[in-house]
Symmetry: C2
Subunit: 350 residues, 2 copies
Amino acid sequence: MPSPRRPHAVTITDVAREAGVAASTVSRALTNPDRVNVVTREHVQQVAARLGYRASPAARALGTGRTATLALVLPDITNPYFSGLIRGAERQAEATGHILVIGDSEENARAEARMVERLAPGVDGFLLGSSRLPDARILQFDAAMPVVLVNRRVPTVTSVSPDQQGGTRQIVEHLVALGHRRAIFLAGPPESWLGRQRWAGISSAAKKHGLKVRRLGPYHPSVEGGLLAGEAALADGATAVIAHNDLMAIGALKRMKARGVSVPADVSIVGFDDIFGADFCDPPLTTLSDRTEQAGRSAVDLLVALVREQSRLDHDAPADIVAPTQLVVRGSTGPAPTAPPPDPKEGDPS
Amino acid sequence: MPSPRRPHAVTITDVAREAGVAASTVSRALTNPDRVNVVTREHVQQVAARLGYRASPAARALGTGRTATLALVLPDITNPYFSGLIRGAERQAEATGHILVIGDSEENARAEARMVERLAPGVDGFLLGSSRLPDARILQFDAAMPVVLVNRRVPTVTSVSPDQQGGTRQIVEHLVALGHRRAIFLAGPPESWLGRQRWAGISSAAKKHGLKVRRLGPYHPSVEGGLLAGEAALADGATAVIAHNDLMAIGALKRMKARGVSVPADVSIVGFDDIFGADFCDPPLTTLSDRTEQAGRSAVDLLVALVREQSRLDHDAPADIVAPTQLVVRGSTGPAPTAPPPDPKEGDPS
DNA sequence: TTGAAAGCGGTACCAA
DNA sequence: TTGGTACCGCTTTCAA
């Protein structure tokens, strides 16, 4: 009667027996090829290949303390903005011989912390994308294990983030050049560092250019949140709306359309992220673009370096990559109307 | 001089010492609580909690042969169609105490097979989404380990797939009701089982309703592929276009617009999947919708059951869930024009 | 350059 | 109900 245990297919011992050498020699031949005689090495490698030997990651991890696994935790896996990040991270993880596990925190700091703690024993390090955690918690995690932040900066923690200062300046200058004098910023979650950067950058650039900007929110950073936010923006009467992200911008756009407000004739709308769909919504969205796939790759490289450093003892100064951003001007922004936008029509806001 | 090895934080032995019991008792108290005296159990659990004990997944996996990890392999992580699947799978994996690792095969059967082989030693089973592998290879994998297919059916292999027969019938009836007599099907990759089902369903329903359908392709199942496909469709002169998926449908839509062909006045377009963006492109897309998040959840449940069965010895008959689909009618379909569509304008097809 | 043996942190069996 | 112990598969000393 067979045991319920699923045995690891071909073990190092099988290879050793078949090759007529000790298990330790097989181990060396496969992972430290230069510490083994050429003839032995090739013989062992051949036997291993013939038997279809695959090392057991669990056994290796138990021995070395390394799992060759990286975790990527995000607030919302389904936000298309993160697709590029996921793909970039996955590709680079594969390229560096790592496995990528993924976690969704559902925009929730508690859930994010739980996720990190749950995953921690099984991974070598964390990629925290758009983390909703407070700085203190991040510093705590960073002290305990390798962490790379994406879309967030915390002093002393390695990170990759898009240049929001330059980006928001581009947005403000674009709107000012079109003659806008008053704008609305539709805020996302207060826990969003990127959101806070965006508001700070916009406020400061706006002051410099004499643009008045009011902030509304917070709203959920989704199309649904944008629907609500769009309603509020209409009530305010500004001629330009800057949304926390494209999801919200698209929601606002929908609401404007439902209300009979013309974009960009009556109101201009700007988003952030240049997500899938931003170029084919109606009108196409003017938005601040960044290279998320590249960010994912860089972040993995940094994380892998951190994991390596951890085992040596020379720690480099933490890296902070600030990636360039670019304003993509499309149809949702236009010259400011000379008269204030019309009152929204009565009717079901769907 | 400290060793380069990162030691597992708090081990079962630490807890045992602190609690004044044997390691095996700690193990039981934590994983088989009913096989331990209430007092001992609670004492141990308390000590474990106080010390912040977390079991080492590697050690557990080595002992039990179970990793509590599931793999999800997809042809294209960035296709928004898969977002729901990823989220559903991730949530249900978490709910059942599993970790989800993710792999992208980039629409490539070889890469998919490599990915499965690479991941296999570290996971308990596979979720293969829209697999591009030949049946034989899938059967081979299925014989070696627990596998659940999503968006694919292969005899004897457990699967979850959307009802394409009913779905394609809905599409054809919709077009026929609008007066269309000739349609084009823009095919995706020949490796796509879903694509083959779609073509089969459409052909058969079309025959029944006297609709003539020609198939063009294959095309890459992306917006870029749709751009090309749209061009070819224009040359054909049919009044309705059914695209392999929404990505292609959106590409075709873009091309029509660039060519000055009006949708749906001149040509109607139908897609599959109802992805993010299908409701706000211009015009919004008529498309066949399925519940991907639910599919992800069901698939994980089935996989977890398979993993459990594997260690018992009673294998149930493989389950085949066929999930309902629903045609969402939006602005991209309309009455067939009485005259054939105008010749496309000359000009740069961008 | 190679082999033998001692862990790594759990689980599970066998006795007590 | 508990403790002792033999693994699980691989890496890594330490000797030979």
